[in-house]
């Protein structure tokens, strides 16, 4: 930081909390406007079915029902399909995706009709009365089956269920593998997950028919992108649409989306001239909000006899589901460069094929591509260690890229910013009491304890801070990766910080206040942060990919610096000295050698407002905007160690100890950062042990509610211990910050799996599926002992 840090690095209590703690915060469903109609979407109960007639006449005859439409009825309302922003290859199969399907249902939950009524109950009753003729078709759920000859086709026009194949090759991969004395080959299945923000999605659209204006409230992570997508989808001028993300109750990627219901609510508000509200039921959330993960990975490492890695070869199948949504095809590619983790080597090949199936579309889920990459490499390096006779620590230390503090290349082709992988591992080993744990493990093994101990590692590397716009262009993403901040000082020295990021629990108001407060020498209590409103904050790219601090936070800092530069000119003018004769500290300019001659930023804001005595040619007012486009990503990293207790009689796995050491660069607010780490780690532990979206062979979602998809409760999970590592600043931005929102879900699943496998190694077990349910453990032990007993 340019000035002394008073707030940065301290746990300023969250400015967001008071309204959230007292029930005064307004989430989308809390807004009520006069004349509001309620919308219900009629969804296909079949995963794959041809749509015959859609008869809404019975619904229209019901009390309270105002309108009802089929996909065919609304076909003329759309200027374009739902936004798919990431055509990853030139020859990608990208099917049109309409808000209501007209020809076929392609997953259970695909929308086929919509009903609006005076009350939600009437709309629900009306939706029940819509008569849809379905001709059920064979469904395809499994990716291998989808790619087999003769498989049912999700989109017949393409003649295949493959959407695309994307490849990345660095170095002489085939040669390295041909010459390597050791090649490890593994196959991993990353199960499908359902994000489950506790606030369901919700939308309210208020039209002003006289002016042709619309205001949309949406429980979204991306109001700015939604606005562009609505313009493209409905042909409404961007200047006639305001999108507001009010308080948003968690996202985890599932609200990084442009959804059919947003298009429908806006289209119906336009058609009917009345406000339209839609609130998702949880059962709908399971069917019609996007899912995450779902990959089959073939992982190969080429190494020398000692276990030093020279080559990586990865072949991924990624389940797209029934359609491509905003970044469905690109999501696995967010991990494409990271299948080497924090390890060295000369050759790297990554290949990903996106596969259509009759399932809910997948898209970003906390970590988006990077948890999958981390899982592959952190499992595979353990397999390599077993092969060459090195333990999990030794094989990692042998392959770590040595500590560095300047841009450094890695096998995946990225330039890393800063890292010291041994340092985070050292700290994690110390925090977990590693030697004692190993001794305890040995003792339990020797006495044949039914509860065996296992220790697992994940020394992960991730990339976040999405993203340099030029890199996004090279990857064929449709938009940029910059973000913006405007800072305005009122005549009385109060500050408004307007940002283009759009939080849903991350604490941007507090964190950004701390940055601006230190830069301007103003109390955090005098700063208001405005976000999530395309009218108040017209410039923005929203919140996902752990980008908000590394991009939006830097924009805040740059806007503050612009204000300080303007203030300095006014101060020099008022004090009748040259600018270089001024010192600046803690919000005060003072004349060198005459510290009594001074002006505060707040006082200079008043001068800029009166404009009575400004330097010649200076514009009045005290407001500056910065738009920041990063030159590089940022690269958090760290070491997670998990100790599990496995009950070999019941198969139950309990996390006994968990240590997370994460170096996320400069920390603005330690309490907020720790909150992100713990929340992410627990979400990742749940992915490793509990959560799995399960379909039957007909494409029916069996894990279809919170009662049979196991989100962890407090009683299901442990407390964890956190360390911060060496805290090397990033050199990708001048604040030195990285990102922390996704480290937990990226790092933790392989730590848990490796720990379970370590515990079960007494049976010779080297692999187990995830989530590691008691049944899977019990079966693995039974099979290892020689089958059914």
């Amino acid at each position: 930081m340019a000035v002394a840090a008073k707030y940065v690095g301290t746990s300023v209590p969250r400015k967001e909390d008071p309204e959230l703690l007292t029930g005064q915060a307004k989430y989308t469903d809390d807004f009520v406007v006069p004349g509001m109609l309620h919308m219900i979407v009629v969804r296909s109960p079949f995963a794959h079915a041809r749509i015959g007639s859609v008869d809404v006449s019975k619904a229209l005859a019901m009390d309270g029902v105002v309108a009802a439409f089929s996909g065919e009825d609304l076909a003329g309302d759309w200027a374009g399909p739902l936004l798919m922003a990431w055509a990853v290859t030139d020859d990608i199969h990208n099917p049109p995706h309409w808000p209501l399907t007209k020809d076929k249902a392609r997953y259970q939950g695909d929308g086929v009709a919509v009903v609006v009524a005076e009350s939600r109950a009437a709309a629900t009753d009306g939706a029940e009365a819509v008569d849809v003729e379905y001709q059920a078709l064979d469904a395809v759920v499994d990716m291998d089956a989808a790619l087999a000859d003769g498989a049912p086709l999700v989109h017949e026009d393409f003649g295949t269920n493959a959407s695309y194949t994307w490849t990345l090759t660095n170095g002489e991969v085939d040669k390295v593998f041909a010459e390597a004395p050791v090649v490890v080959k593994e196959r991993y299945v990353i199960q499908r997950a359902i994000p489950n923000a506790i606030e369901p999605r919700a939308i309210l659209v208020q039209p002003n028919t006289a002016m042709g204006d619309f205001t949309m409230w949406s429980a979204t992570q991306i109001p700015h992108i939604v606005k562009v997508a609505m313009t493209l989808g409905l042909g409404i001028s961007e200047s006639k649409l305001r999108v507001i993300a009010p308080r948003v109750g968690g996202g985890f990627g599932a609200k990084l989306q442009v959804y059919a219901e947003e298009m429908l609510a806006l289209a119906l508000a336009k058609r009917l001239g009345r406000p339209i509200k839609w609130v998702e039921e949880r059962s709908e959330n399971y069917l019609a909000s996007h899912h995450g993960r779902d990959q089959i990975q073939e992982v190969e490492l080429a190494a020398d006899a000692d276990g030093r890695i020279h080559g990586y070869r990865m072949k991924i199948l990624a389940n797209m589901g029934g359609y491509l949504m905003i970044i469905t095809p690109g999501t696995p590619l967010l991990g494409a460069f990271l299948y080497c983790g924090c390890y060295g080597g000369e050759a790297y090949h990554f290949e990903c094929t996106g596969v259509f199936t009759n399932t809910t579309p997948t898209d970003a889920y906390r970590g988006a591509g990077r948890p999958e990459a981390t899982y592959a490499i952190e499992r595979a390096i353990d397999a390599l260690g077993r092969r060459v006779g090195k333990d999990a620590i030794a094989i990692r230390r042998l392959n770590f890229i040595p500590a560095f503090n300047e841009p450094t290349p890695m096998p995946g082709g990225l330039m890393l910013d800063s890292g010291d992988y041994d340092a985070t591992l050292d700290q994690a080993l110390e925090l977990i009491g590693y030697d004692d744990l190993r001794a305890e493990q040995q003792a339990r093994r020797e006495r044949g304890d039914p509860k065996q101990l296992g220790i697992g590692f994940s020394t992960y590397l991730e990339m976040c801070g999405l993203a340099p716009s030029r890199v996004l262009s090279a990857l064929k993403y449709a938009a940029g990766g910059w973000d913006a901040a405007t800072i305005r000082l009122s005549p009385t020295g109060k500050v408004t910080v307007v940002v283009g990021t759009s939080p849903h629990g991350q604490g941007h108001a507090t964190t950004f206040s701390q940055i601006a407060a230190d830069d301007l020498g103003i109390s955090v209590d005098d700063i208001e942060v405005v976000h999530g409103d395309t009218m108040l904050a017209p410039l923005g790219m929203d919140t996902y990919g752990s980008r908000s601090l590394a991009i939006g936070g830097v924009a805040v800092h740059r806007a503050a610096e612009k204000l300080v530069a303007k203030a300095k000119k006014i101060a020099a003018h008022e004090l009748e000295v040259a600018e270089e004769d001024l010192d600046y500290e803690g919000g005060t300019f003072s004349v060198k050698g005459a510290p009594d001659k001074a002006r505060t930023v707040a006082a200079l804001a008043f001068s800029a407002w009166t404009a009575h005595n400004l330097p010649d040619g200076m514009e009045p007012g005290f407001e500056e905007t910065a738009v920041y486009d990063p030159a590089n990503f940022v690269f958090p990293y760290g070491a997670h160690i998990c100790a599990v207790e496995v009950d070999t009689e019941t198969g139950e796995v309990k996390v006994a100890k968990y240590v997370a050491v994460d170096d996320v660069g400069l920390v603005i607010n330690p309490q907020i950062v720790e909150g992100q780490v713990v929340g992410g780690v627990i979400q990742g532990i749940a992915e490793a042990l509990l959560e799995e979206a399960v379909y039957d062979e007909n494409g029916q979602l069996l894990s279809s509610s919170m009662t049979n998809y196991e989100i962890p409760a407090a009683s299901d999970v442990p407390s964890i211990t956190i360390g911060r590592g060496p805290g090397l600043p990033s050199n990708s931005n001048e604040l030195g910050v990285k990102g922390v929102g996704e480290t937990g879900t990226i790092a933790s699943p392989p730590a848990v799996l490796n720990a379970v496998i370590d515990a079960l190694s007494v049976y010779g077990i080297t692999d187990i599926g995830r989530p590691v349910t008691p049944e899977r453990v019990w079966r693995a032990i039974r099979d290892a002992k020689g089958g059914a007993q």
Binding site: L21, I198, M706
Partner: protein
């Protein structure tokens, strides 16, 4: 049907549909939108309120069943502009992120603490709050906050935080 009940100390009389759930009576009839709805299976606990002092998921109860009862919601917790001990503890210990589960979590915790005047430990809090789901915090700071509030509400010095924490 006509019901009479007290909500946050204020008497209300309203005609309600027999099928209306208590949570929608609170949200839509009384405008008390602090109580949230997160699921349709009575799993998540976001809608937890107190009925005659005991925590109840207000999506599991009909408004008519609240006739003659005393209901408390998050809006009634702070008194005279002062946060309740639980609200204060959640703030100090960062026991909330998006805040959506927070009203239900606080109401459930209030009931739990008052059911255990002898005090609570980490496991007791974790078991006692298993009906309230949070997707953001990983629960650790919630547990810390509830333990701190329990001590404050029972007039004792705060006990040790859960195992773990920052090194």
């Amino acid at each position: 049907m006509r019901i009479s009940l007290t909500v946050n100390g204020t008497a209300h009389q309203d005609d309600v549909e027999p099928r209306q759930l208590l949570v929608y009576y609170l949200r839509e009839t009384l405008g008390l939108t602090g109580t949230n709805v997160g699921c349709d299976t009575s799993t998540c606990g976001a809608c937890t309120v107190l009925v005659d002092g005991r925590s109840v998921k207000s999506c599991t109860m009909l408004a008519v069943q609240a006739d003659g009862r005393d209901v408390a919601t998050i809006e009634g917790m702070a008194k005279n502009g002062e946060l309740h001990a639980l609200q204060q503890a959640f703030h100090e210990h960062h026991g909330l992120q998006c805040g959506y589960c927070t009203p239900g979590m606080i109401m459930a915790a209030d009931s739990l603490i008052r059911e255990h005047p002898e005090g609570l430990d980490e496991q007791g809090v974790r078991m006692g709050l298993e009906g309230n789901l949070c997707r953001c915090t990983g629960y650790q700071n919630i547990v810390t906050a509830v333990l701190a509030a329990a001590e404050a509400m029972n007039g004792r010095a705060p006990a040790a935080a859960p195992a773990g924490g920052e090194a």
